[in-house]
């Protein structure tokens, strides 16, 4: 076997192994392709469940608008602070009847759209 072929084979096998490991860890930590909204989506602990909730809002604004609104809300005190502010100010959304803080609804809608 020529040396060059050996190196190429080992590299390919390594890449395949790395990809496999990456997919294996999906079982524990879901990996998502990068988006322009990852700074906002980082607030989600369980993006899958949030996306399920978000899919109940098919008429939600486009992702860019959602993200812009969320960035404004999150900026002062983070996502937890935004959520608490929503509740205190009665900024609630009814998502298929579920009464949730507006920030939770917006973030879930964003998760469903990206």
């Amino acid at each position: 076997m020529r040396r060059r072929s050996l190196i190429a084979g080992v590299t390919a096998a390594g890449a395949a192994l790395a990809a496999g490991l990456y997919r294996f860890t999906d079982l524990f930590v879901k990996h998502y392709p990068p988006t322009p909204y990852d700074d906002v989506l980082a607030a989600l602990v369980d993006r899958e469940e949030a996306a399920k909730l978000g899919r109940l809002m098919p008429d939600a604004p486009p992702p860019a608008a959602l993200a812009a609104q969320l960035r404004t809300a999150i900026k002062p005190n983070g996502f937890a602070g935004a959520t608490e502010s929503d509740i205190a100010a009665d900024r609630l959304a009814e998502v298929k009847g579920w009464v949730v803080p507006q920030s939770v609804a917006l973030l879930s809608a964003l998760a469903a759209k990206v």
Binding site: L53, I87, K96, G97, W98, P101
Partner: protein, 503 residues
């Protein structure tokens, strides 16, 4: 102790001349008779039924209806001694102070007096309905040993409490006829006359006073039996929210539109408390709720209680909502959408919802007074020749919308306290499972102005010097509380008034 008299044993043409004739032996009539038992007044208590259910007698309640589906007119009430307490659920709760106030956002609302006018009568009323010591919104501390209240935090909804009628045997609830029959027999001045159907309230020619009452019995063939006359100094109508209106409307020989109906108000403003089932789903993040939310529980000191969620007066004023009492019904399972909502929201709030438990919510609602929701007479007659009733039933979308705001506030408070969350179901779903309280209200409404009410603040029919009405038919605004405790208190207030005017 004397036995009850049976009107069927009287000779036709008999004339009885009591000081006060009470028409109807339900909770109002019996409470009034007992309250007047210590006086020198001769009281005649005219009860159309006997001591037990009789289908032929009950049939005289049959009527027709149009509009929104409602319980048959001969199903939601009972025509024998004890009246509708013979099938009541025993739910007791005083009306709120705001229920008595004129609320600008609720047309036709307001009583002619504040709740303070009724408060002196609640303790005795509580004794009569046998609901135990007066706890209500103080029940929380007594119930704490059974589990913690769901924390709601500050807001427009608070945990309120029902108490339940409880007989001395521990059976629920108090059937006034059975419970107080011996008390009635023991009195020296109250004469209960069974099987006595009042078929007409006959006015003097000047229409300013009741001259006499026409009374008839049913014979064994279901037709008219004996006929006799009662000439009382004072008459008190106490035969329920439907029958009070029917008797007034049907007694139209002097006043052509019926007694007390000079302003076309008798039979209008019919009210009840709608009980939509499964209005919402409540999720408790921490797990099962304390047992007093879903069931009626006996406290160690005696009373039977159940927790409910009620809007505060401040919230009702600020958000212009009506009264409502939201109750926890049964546990439910969430679908995948619901689980996603709970997981996502709980994570956002930073709480663990792995043991979350879900429940359906029901409600007893207050309707807005509506003059077009009404009882009228039909051409069809009952066995004694009295015209049957027709109910035109309806409910406005605003009634649902007003309640929606309260549910949303409950949801907000649960989120604020990180205790749980709710899902509000669509109004169309509420209507599907709609039940009614069988609380017949408002048809002889109370108002100081004769143009707006059938009776005045003393329950006297406007323009008629010696005719009074007792019971929930005089409630001009309904509240969400079950009426029995409140109508008994109101009747005891009437008893005090009658003692004064006859002194």
């Amino acid at each position: 102790m004397t036995a009850f008299l049976d009107a069927r044993t009287l000779a036709s043409g008999t004339v009885l001349e009591p000081d006060i004739a009470i028409i109807g032996g339900g909770p109002a009539g019996i409470s009034l008779a007992l309250a007047l038992a210590s006086t020198r007044l001769n009281i005649l208590l005219l009860e159309s039924g006997g001591q037990n259910f009789d289908p032929a007698n009950q049939k005289m309640y049959a009527g027709s209806q149009s509009g929104l589906s409602y319980i048959a007119l001969d199903s939601g009430r009972l025509r024998f001694l004890g009246g509708s307490t013979n099938h009541w659920g025993g739910w007791c709760r005083p009306l709120d102070a705001i229920d008595f106030q004129a609320r600008p956002w609720l047309p036709h609302s307001g009583w002619p007096f504040p709740k303070t006018a009724l408060e002196p009568y609640y303790p005795r009323a509580q004794t009569l309905v046998e609901a135990g010591p007066w706890l209500y919104d103080k029940a929380g501390s007594s119930a704490a040993t059974l589990g913690q209240e769901l924390p709601l935090g500050k807001g427009g909804v608070y945990t309120s409490w029902f108490q339940f009628s409880k007989t001395r045997d521990g059976d629920l609830p108090t059937y006034f006829g059975h419970r107080y029959q011996d008390d009635l027999k023991r009195t020296h001045n109250v004469k209960p006359l069974l099987h006595a159907n009042v078929t007409g309230i006959r006015l003097s020619a000047n229409a300013q006073a009741v001259d006499h009452l026409d009374v008839a019995t049913l014979n064994s063939q279901g037709g008219t039996g004996k006929k006799f006359t009662v000439k009382p100094r004072i008459t008190v109508l106490a035969c329920g929210g439907m029958e009070n209106a029917r008797l007034l409307l049907a007694s139209n020989d002097v006043m052509k539109n019926g007694v007390g109906n000079q302003n076309d108000l008798v039979g209008r403003f019919f009210g009840d408390n709608p009980i939509p089932r499964d209005v919402a789903t409540l999720v408790s993040f921490a797990g099962p709720l304390a047992p007093y939310y879903g069931a009626n529980l006996a406290l160690a000191n005696g009373p039977v209680v159940k927790a409910t969620f009620a809007p505060t007066s401040a919230f009702r004023e600020a958000k212009q909502v009506a009264g409502s009492l939201t109750t926890v019904e049964q546990p439910v399972e969430l679908d995948e959408d619901g689980k996603a909502a709970v997981i996502t929201t709980a994570i956002a709030l930073g709480v663990d919802a792995s043991n979350a438990k879900s429940y359906s919510l029901g409600c007893g609602m207050e309707l807005a007074p509506d003059p077009e929701r009404r009882l009228t007479l039909t051409d069809e007659k009952d066995a004694l020749g009295l015209p049957r009733l027709k109910l035109t039933m309806r409910m406005a979308d605003t009634d649902f919308h007003l309640y929606h705001a309260t549910l949303r506030e409950l949801g907000r408070q649960l989120l604020a306290s990180k205790a749980g969350m709710i899902r509000i179901h669509r109004h169309e779903e509420w209507s599907k499972g709609m039940d009614w309280g069988n609380h017949h209200l408002g048809t002889t409404r109370m108002h100081a102005d004769p143009k707006q009410g059938v009776v005045d603040a003393d329950s006297k029919v406007h323009g008629i010097g010696n005719l009074y009405v007792a019971g929930s038919s005089v409630f001009p605004t309904y509240g969400a509380s079950n009426p029995t405790l409140n109508l008994v208190a109101l009747t005891l207030r009437l008893a005090d008034h009658l003692k004064k005017v006859t002194a």
